[in-house]
């Protein structure tokens, strides 16, 4: 469907006899193509309603439908005719998907009404006289953004859908609420003040409502837990439940422990410092995510006990870190054996991160990461996921980075073990990036490097899948 979107954008100008640049808002218009889909081509995945999350708020008193298409999830936004009316409204009004993220079609500018009225170069000249300078790109940047945003909209039948994240449960402070899956954890060790612990450890997959409800009251101790009656996630197809909640919780706990210990290292006994370096190196080996090295390092820390420094604040930090590690490991040990992750099959060196060179490689060890990779390369990687989850091959995500001048380039490489030597069993490269050779070479290089790396503590207990 082609739609006409009206938007405002900012320009700079210098009036006569002036030196300083002023700003005004002009009105622009662009045509965008919005994809249309037959109802049969989208698979219903979830039905969600939330009283606390605007993204999943009930629609006309009923839960929103979330469908899956092209490896992505799309949430019901509203009726098509209402959407058309909103787009055609003059002046443009809020409420369209274009307005949802960055207020691209914003109209309200209550700063300088006089300039707001000057919505064309001609009207500005009428007001100010001949301008000394006018910096007007015709709204090109905002046009590009609107067209990019249009790709996040999908029309199925007479309903508009907007791309969304996987709905999950967030249980904290005695409350259970629907939330959207948080973004990639990235580098949890980067900042001690970050809320990775809270943002990941409190998250539960859509099909684990009971466990989420049970954990909601824990941080606050006793007291009734709000059942979240107006919070609904109905899983229509379990295949789309991919959020790696336990993995994220453990990686976040490891990052939190490392960050907390790092603030008191000078007062910590030697064994704590050694465990700190174990966790830090494990996080570095996994790129800040969960992995066998992280599990081993956190297990080692938890096994060593919580007695240590005399300094009060250091002792408190150590006790809290130990408590967090025990809690995260307990959750990790109780994770369901549903094949959504295969961390125990991973190599100790899960990631080779080379930010300035070609070939940053990361081993994919759960369905969520596999889904992200599939979206990046634009292909269905189900067969690769199955082989990796079954332990018959290793699935590697390869990032080309700067050497290929394609900052978002990605490739999926499946490697099998052939008589002790890694052999590429298949690869999928993002469209337009040429042959797979640079990516497969990087993947094989990573595996050779990983083969020579050991766990920080080989004696640490290994935690395989729950049986």
């Amino acid at each position: 469907m082609e739609a006409l979107v009206t938007f405002t954008y900012q320009v700079g100008y210098v009036p006569p006899k002036c030196h300083n640049t002023r700003s005004a808002h002009f009105r622009g218009r662009t045509a965008v193509e919005i994809a249309e889909l037959a109802r049969a081509d989208a698979a219903p995945a979830f039905r969600v309603a939330s009283g606390s999350n605007r993204r999943f708020a009930a629609l006309e008193g009923r839960p929103r439908l979330v469908v899956a298409h092209a490896g992505r999830l799309w949430a019901e936004h509203g009726a098509l005719d209402v959407f058309r009316a909103l787009l055609a409204a003059e002046p443009p009004v809020e409420g369209t998907p274009f307005d949802a993220a960055k207020r691209l079609a914003f109209t309200g500018y209550d700063g300088n009404r006089r300039l707001l009225a000057s919505d064309t170069p001609a009207s500005l000249r009428r007001q100010c006289g001949e301008l000394r300078r006018l910096e007007d790109d015709g709204g090109a940047a905002k046009t590009l953004e609107i067209q990019r945003r249009a790709r996040d909209i999908l029309i199925i039948g007479d309903t508009v859908f907007v791309r969304t994240c996987e709905p999950i449960w967030r249980a904290a402070n005695g409350r259970l609420a629907v939330s959207a899956a948080p973004a990639d954890p990235g580098e949890p060790f980067a900042d001690a003040g970050d809320l990775y612990l809270g943002s990941h450890s409190a998250c539960w997959r859509a099909d684990r409502r009971d466990e989420a409800l049970a954990s909601a009251g824990k941080p606050t101790g006793a007291g009734p837990v709000a059942d979240g009656g107006d919070e609904v996630i109905e899983v229509l197809d379990p295949a789309y439940v991919r959020f790696a909640d336990d993995s994220r919780a453990l990686a976040a706990a490891a990052g939190w422990i490392a960050a907390t210990l790092s603030e008191h290292l000078a007062a910590m006994p030697r064994w704590v410092v050694e465990r700190f370096y174990d966790i830090r190196e494990a996080l570095a080996a996994t790129g800040g995510r969960n992995g066998p090295a992280v599990v081993a390092a956190v297990s080692s820390f938890a096994a060593d006990g919580a007695d240590g420094p005399a300094a009060e604040d250091a002792a408190a930090a150590l006790a809290r870190a130990w408590e967090i590690s025990a809690s995260a490991l307990d959750r990790w040990d109780r994770r369901p054996a549903d094949g959504r992750e295969w961390q125990h099959l991973g190599l100790p060196l899960t990631a080779t991160l080379r930010p300035n060179r070609a070939g940053s490689v990361r081993e994919v060890l759960d369905l969520e990461a596999a889904g992200v990779l599939a979206r990046a390369v634009g292909a269905d990687l189900a067969w690769m996921e199955q082989m990796a989850a079954g332990g018959r091959a290793r699935l590697l995500a390869v990032d080309g980075k700067k050497a290929l001048q394609t900052p978002t380039s990605q490739a999926a490489v499946l490697v099998v073990d052939r008589d002790g030597m890694p052999e590429v069993a298949g690869s999928v490269v993002r469209e337009g990036l040429g042959g797979p050779e640079p990516f497969t070479e990087a993947a094989i290089g990573h595996l050779r490097q990983a083969a020579g790396a050991g766990l920080p503590d080989d004696t640490a207990p290994q935690r395989g899948p729950r049986t």
Binding site: S262, L265, A266, R270, V273, F276, Y277
Partner: protein, 497 residues
């Protein structure tokens, strides 16, 4: 020798219809008595002549080497003849020009330049002048006649001697020091002793040695180790090329009483390097590589175990730190990887000292100290001035304010003996040979007792208190407690030098 010295002191007064006291400086006269000692009661320990211009207190006197004499177990530095000294403090006391010339030979002038006797920058007045200048008139004076200042002057005079027409001032032990000056390594004289060592132990900040303009002990050597000082200067030259290709020996020394030189220079170097490195490196723990981080933790643990004293463990820990920072030619890349660009600040130090105030400069200096101290520790001579390798673990026992610790340097043994009024040289010699352990009891401020214990069984053989009396009950208890700890450790393998 009686001195009559003009001094300034502060007094306060109240003006009429005013409740807020005001202050002014008044002139007064202080009388000080300097002890006169017969010539045959002293012996000359050293003759020194430093010509570097950087150690004016140890330069020649009247064109001949300066004498440092020994009297009552204390070293005394020759200042000048009595007539000149009297002229200085009695006649030229108010002359700012005179202060500048003889600043380092005037015992009434502290190193910071302000004199106890006279501060030329102060405007003094009298009661009458103050009354004249006050519009309302003065209703009350609080003027004690400067008694506090006069007592202070007498205390200073107590640290002086008049011997054979010359005036001497109590001083610390002379030693060699190596420093950089105008692009060359200069080997010159300095003084180091218990006061400086105590200041070192109070080290709270890595910047201490910079702000206090003190010489780092890592570059100090026993007065009998001139060749080692020269060797250190040459090594510094190789570390910091191209600024130190020449080594200048700017002093001459003649040692007449070798037994008076007890400076545990290598121990001090290790202690200072360890403290400084810990203060600077502790904040690098979270980002340091594992082996470097564990070396830093080993350093901390060794400092804790030995109470900051130079023990064998501390020597190993400092060596561990130094292993991560090699001379420039050896491991430029390794150093830059481990400590980033911090260590290179050491190399920029000589070029104007622009980075003196930065943390990077402190880190560079700390690593440099570790490297130098580690080399010195490994090459320290077995001359009986320290026996850290024979020390038991733990080195000390604490109970409330009381502390018992093993004495592991001759300098400490002398200090202990001096405070208790007993000679412990024989015990120290036996301890240095491993035949017994010498243990001191402290009350947090000074030594309160000493004991010797059998190194194999930990059994106490002898106890000494102050002025020949038995030690107090508290001191005895803490000494026995530490001996019991030693007994528990008896039979443990000993460290080998």
């Amino acid at each position: 020798m009686r001195l009559t010295i003009p001094v300034q002191y502060q007094a306060t007064f109240l003006e009429r219809r005013s409740r807020t006291p005001r202050s002014c400086y008044l002139e007064g006269i202080a009388y000080a008595e300097v002890r006169e000692i017969p010539v045959h009661d002293v012996s000359t320990a050293f003759l020194v002549a430093d010509t570097s211009g950087l150690s004016p207190g140890l330069g020649p006197v009247g064109g001949r080497p300066r004498r440092i004499i020994l009297h009552g177990g204390q070293l005394w530095r020759e200042l000048m003849d009595e007539a000149s000294f009297r002229a200085l403090v009695e006649e030229k006391g108010t002359d700012p020009e005179a202060w500048a010339e003889v600043r380092y030979d005037n015992p009434f002038a502290p190193p910071d330049g302000n004199s106890l006797c006279w501060m030329p920058e102060l405007d003094t007045t009298t009661h009458e002048e103050a009354a004249r200048q006050s519009a309302a008139g003065i209703r009350e004076w609080n003027d004690d006649g400067g008694i506090g200042r006069m007592q202070e002057v007498q205390l200073r005079a107590n640290r002086m001697l008049a011997v054979g027409g010359q005036v001497f001032e109590a001083c610390e032990e002379p030693c060699w020091t190596v420093g950089m000056h105008e692009g060359e390594a200069v080997v010159r004289l300095a003084m180091y002793g218990p006061e400086a060592a105590a200041a070192l132990r109070k080290l709270q900040d890595a910047s201490y040695w910079h702000w206090q303009n003190r010489l780092p002990p890592a570059q100090m050597f026993h007065i009998g180790r001139e060749q080692d000082a020269v060797l250190c200067a040459r090594e510094m030259g190789t570390l910091t090329e191209p600024r130190a290709r020449r080594v200048r020996i700017a002093a001459k020394v003649r040692i007449l009483r070798p037994d008076t030189a007890v400076l545990a220079d290598d121990s001090l170097a290790i202690e200072e390097a360890a403290w400084r490195a810990w203060r600077v490196l502790e904040k690098h723990l979270p980002s340091a590589p594992r082996d470097a981080g564990l070396a830093i933790i080993a350093l901390r643990d060794a400092l804790d175990a030995g109470g900051g004293r130079a023990t064998a463990d501390l020597g190993d820990a400092v060596t561990g730190i130094a292993r991560h920072w090699q001379p420039k030619e050896a491991a430029e890349s390794q150093r830059s990887e481990i400590f980033g660009d911090c260590a290179h600040a050491f190399h920029t130090r000589g070029s104007g000292g622009a980075k003196y105030g930065s943390h990077e400069a402190f880190l560079g200096h700390a690593l440099e100290s570790c490297w130098v101290a580690s080399r010195r520790w490994q090459r320290r001579p077995p001359d009986g001035r320290e026996w850290a390798h024979l020390a038991a673990t733990p080195l000390f026992t604490r109970s409330g304010a009381a502390e018992a610790r093993e004495i592991i340097t001759l300098a400490e043994a002398r200090e202990l003996g001096g405070q208790l009024g007993a000679s412990l040289d024989a015990d120290a010699a036996a301890a240095s040979e491993g035949r017994l352990r010498l243990i001191a009891a402290m009350d947090g401020v000074s030594f309160t007792g000493a004991a010797t214990a059998d190194p194999d069984t930990g059994r106490i053989e002898r106890m000494v208190g102050r002025a020949g009396r038995p030690p107090s009950r508290t001191a005895s208890a803490i000494l026995e407690s530490h001996a019991a700890t030693l007994a528990a450790q008896a039979g443990a393998p000993r460290m080998v030098r």
